[in-house]
Structures are given as C-alpha cells and as structure tokens.
C-alpha cells in the first residue's frame, strides 16, 4: 500500500486504482485523517462525507439481505432436522414388533413373531371354506 501522501498525489494525477482511492477515502474519514495537513485535500476532494459513509459501512452489521439469507439457512436447517427426526420416527413406527403381557413390554422379535404365528395359525389353519372344498372336489 502506498503512503497517504503518494495516494493524495496519485489521486490528483488520476493514477489511483479503485482500491487505492477507497483506501484514501477511508483514511480521510478516520481520526488520523482529521489532521489540519489534510484539510485542504479533504476540501478539494469533497469526499469527507463519502469517506465517512465508507467507514460507517465497514462497522455496520450485516446488511438486511444477508440477515435474510442467514435466517433462511437457519430455518431450512431447522426444518431438515425436524424432517429427519420425523423420518426416523416414521421408520421406527413402521417397523414395530412388540408384545405386552400384563403391561410388561416384550421386544424380542422371535418371541413376538412366534406369538403372532400361533395366533394366525389358530385363526386360519383349521378353517376350510366351502369354496375351497368345492375347488378341491372338482380338481380331482
């Protein structure tokens, strides 16, 4: 970075880059730039107000648009967390295998499925409907 005097000189000669010009404006708006030796420069440039606004801009919190974006990201992350939690919960709900005997919980799948097997066999095995009997009779 060139020294301030060189920047001032460069400004008058019109050889400063955009970054160098901004640096000069920032300097003139800072406490250091308030010295009387720079009064003339500030007056000529007429950039006191502009430099000040640049300084304020740097210390300002995130612009409204940025805050909006962050809020959106947070909201999406929160929604994703809820959806994942619900997804796991739905998966678990859709794959239940449990018995309660007198209020006591049994989670051993083999025991539970053995019980289910017995109940279904009892309900369905020794029942022969008329349609089935007729089918067997005519298939012979």
């Amino acid at each position: 970075m060139k020294k301030i005097d060189e920047l001032i000189e460069g400004y008058f000669e019109g050889t400063l880059s955009q970054d160098e010009e901004t640096a000069l404006k920032v300097f003139l708006a800072s406490e250091e730039g308030q010295g009387p030796e720079y009064d003339e420069v500030r007056a000529v440039m007429g950039y006191f107000a502009a430099g000040r606004s640049v300084e304020i801009l740097r210390s300002r919190p995130l612009p409204r648009n940025d805050r909006k974006v962050w809020r959106r990201i947070l909201a999406i992350a929160a929604s994703m967390a809820i959806i994942i939690t619900l997804g796991v919960s739905i998966y678990n709900r859709n794959n239940v295998c449990v018995s309660f005997v007198g209020g006591q919980k049994i989670t051993d799948k083999e025991v539970v499925m053995n019980d289910v097997d017995n109940i279904l066999a009892d309900l369905l095995s020794d029942r022969t409907d008329m349609e089935e009997l007729l089918n067997e009779f005519f298939d012979r």
Partner: protein, 157 residues
C-alpha cells in the same frame, strides 16, 4: 417473519405438517370399527391383556403390513360386549365367516373394503380352558394378502 412467505419455507412447513399427520394417523389403525373400544384400552385394563403389535418388515412373509392382537381371559358379560361390537362391525364387512356354538359366537373372520388397495381383516376366536375359563383373541390386520393367501400360508400349521 418475512422468510415464512418464501415458497421454499412453505414447502418445508407442508412436508413437516404432513409427516406429523402421517404419524398421528398410524397411531389408531383400527379406528372406525366398533371393536376399537377393545384395542384402545378403555374397555379392559392393559394389565389384563396380552397384546401384540407388529408393523412393517416382519410381516412381509404374510404380505401384511399391520397386525394387532388382543387376548384376555373374559367374563360372560365382557364376551357379550365384544361380540356385540363384532356384530356391529360385521354389518360393514364385504366378506365374513362366522361360527357359533350353542348360540354363542366362537369364531369370526371378516374382511372390509378399503380405498387403498389393501385388505382389512378382523378376526375373533374364543376358547374354553379345561377349568371353564374363556379366552378371547381379537385380531386386526391389514395388507395386500387375500383371505385365501392367508389360509394357504397357515393351512398346515
């Protein structure tokens, strides 16, 4: 809350709400049948019941997706009440097989119409022990399996 007006946020909220509704719906599959009074625990205390609940992958061999059974040693009065619910539900069944002995219902298997391509079944069986106690089993199940499919699976067991 400007971000709530955003389309993306609306979609996320919709998905979240749908998931909540899906969860709530799964909790009471046999709702709408009179026998729900037996399953929801308002008729007999849970301490007197043997209950099984199976959903999902364990039922795949039977082509079912939901199975719930309740068994209990029941008094004559309780059996009459359960049978009255079953008879009420039987009026809506599209297919039913009911057996009585000495004027008492001892067996029932009913199939109900659904609008999701699945079959909905309600089963009932009462057995008497040598000591004279009566044990009632009520089963509610859903799935793509037909009555015939299930009978074939359990025919020789």
């Amino acid at each position: 809350m400007n971000f709530l007006t955003d389309d993306l946020m609306k979609k996320f909220l919709l998905i979240t709400l749908s998931a909540f509704l899906a969860l709530a719906q799964g909790a009471r599959a046999q709702e709408g049948l009179q026998i729900d009074s037996l399953f929801n625990g308002s008729f007999v205390p849970k301490s007197r019941i043997t209950e099984s609940l199976v959903t999902g992958k364990e039922l795949k061999p039977y082509n079912l997706d939901y199975f719930r059974s309740v068994r209990l040693q029941a008094s004559e009065g309780e059996i009459r009440r359960i049978v009255s619910w079953l008879e009420g539900d039987a009026l809506m069944a599209i297919e039913k097989d009911m057996d009585s002995e000495n004027g008492e219902l001892v067996y029932a298997l009913m199939c109900f119409a659904t609008n999701n391509g699945k079959n909905k079944y309600l089963g009932y069986q009462v057995k008497e022990s040598s000591g004279g106690s009566k044990y009632v089993t009520v089963v509610y199940m859903t799935g793509k399996a037909t009555t015939r499919d299930l009978k074939v699976i359990f025919k020789h067991r």
